[in-house]
Amino acid sequence: MYISSIFLKNYRNYKKQDLQLSPGINIIQGANGQGKSNFLESVYNLCFGRPFRGFKEIDLVYRGTPYYYLQGTIYLQQRCYKVEVGYEIEKKRKIFKINGRKDRSNSLAGRCPVVFFVPEDLELIRRGPEERRRFLDREISQIAPLYGEYLSRYNRVIYQKNRALKEKKLSRESLKNLIKAWNAQIIHFGSRILQKRAYYISAWSELASRNFGLLFENEQQLKISYKSFLQKDLLTGDLSEIELLFSIEIAAKEEEEYIRGFSIVGPHRDDLAFLINGCDAKRFASHGQQRSAVIALKAAQIQYYHQQEEKPLFILDDIFSELDEKRREQCFELLAKAEQIFLSITKKEKYLDPIFKKFSCFSFFHVQNGSITEIKENGNDRLFY
């Protein structure tokens, strides 16, 4: 998959920007605060029809203007799509069109193989379980079409049930029946979430282990696994079996839920575990190892897409300045697996040279204060120095 052109109107700090993109690597260079990330996020927004990681639509609109609008040409599965995304503040109206026709905003999502890599991802292992769940949910809903729907319904049910558990005025008997009514849906949606998470984690884990092994000459082993409340191989069980085990588990903790006043059984409490040489990486691995494990996982995501017969689009937001030499090289390896790359950098550095040697076609852009200019020179070698 790749994007051949993009047009931004009133998006973040871009008033108006029209760009022809390289199908290979696109480097966006600029000082901090000039709009590098905003531009990369617009690429994400175009592919998925929704803002990048928790941004609100209204915050994407250039201050003082009534709307934002993005347009781009996406090549996917040998077909060309003209995609338009926009948001009007006053009408609170979201616009999403494919080839000029209105579309539900997630119809391309689930088909766009996009991997986004920002420096904060490197700290995934150090962070809390909710960060890792957020990572899982975000990445899986990109691939599995129904996952996002299940997740939002699941979260809604948990929200309602938690409130019901705090209910004081009902008799124990009616409260019990009420909780059962919510549990039915927790089991329904939760089992589907569990199954999808287990499937993707296992697919990624296998690839990530190999990546990690290569980096450390097989002296160190990485295993990524799903740490779930359900003590069961979620991969082999069919849905009805998972639902059954889930319902047994939830019934067993019923009393405890009344006492504690919130839902304690379900995938909303699960975690993603990273083990290096059999030890919990969060507690025992060095900072460098932890970061390598995350890169190995990112690489696995790219490879997974690669296996699905569509080369992915890879977006790296100022990653290299954060990494030491070893991990930089680890990252360079990944780039070859992607079809199109967006890479933002603050400065032209010597260590970036190998990247440019890898790609036959690339474009170099300079960002300053919400305006992007393409810098054209003859021959790749002279581009930088």
Binding site: L146, E149, Y159, Q160, R163, N177, L178, K180, A181, A184
Partner: protein, 198 residues
């Protein structure tokens, strides 16, 4: 202040109605001011009288001006069949089909602990009493197919089944006359789950 206190007050009153924003409220206000005196009085009377006269049917909680609503008064209705809906307008949609011969029970909402709506607020104890007293044989649950509607359906089913009544849920699936390709994934999934033998 841009407008007189009376105008501001009227705008505020209109804004309390669902679906009315500040602009529409202002438009309605100005329109009312151009209306004839009698018309405005008639409108005010209609509001007050509707509010005064309309009440809930004592049996099914439909809106009516009498003790029982027309459906509950209709003796030709199947007395053993009861359909549970969330809103009076849901009942109207089912009535329009002419396919349902039983009676109704209107919940006026769905379970939502977050909004403080529990079984008592929906008069579910009254519903269960009705099932017992009127010897209902089948309860058709037609609450909305969303998180709250489904939870309500589960709750009612759980409470009604011990009474020995048959409980069914209306089917979900594709809109008739539409194309498969326009169905969203969740609807399609549900349609597949509730497929039936031919």
């Amino acid at each position: 202040m841009l407008f007189s206190p009376s105008i501001t007050r009227l705008v505020e009153v209109f804004r309390r109605l669902p679906g009315i924003g500040p602009k529409t409220a202002l438009r309605l206000t100005f329109f009312v001011l151009t209306m004839k005196n009698e018309e405005v009085q008639e409108m005010a009377r209609a509001l007050v009288e509707a509010k005064k006269r309309v009440r809930y049917c004592t049996r099914c909680r439909n809106l009516t001006e009498d003790e029982l609503c027309p459906v509950c008064r209709d003796e030709r209705r199947d007395k053993a069949l009861l359909c549970v809906v969330q809103e009076p307008r849901d009942m109207m949609v089912i009535e329009k089909t002419g396919q349902f011969k039983g009676r109704y029970f209107i919940l006026h909402g769905a379970l939502s602990p977050v909004e403080g709506i529990g079984p008592d607020e929906l008069m579910i104890p009254q519903l269960l009493q009705l099932i017992k007293d009127k010897k209902i044989e089948e309860v058709v649950i037609a609450t909305n197919p969303n998180v709250e509607g489904d939870a309500t359906a589960y709750y009612i089913a759980g409470a009604a089944k011990p009474l020995g009544v048959r409980v069914t849920r209306i089917g979900f699936g594709l809109p008739v006359g539409g194309d498969l390709e326009y169905a969203d994934e969740l609807t399609m999934t549900r349609a597949l789950e509730s497929r039936r033998e031919m």
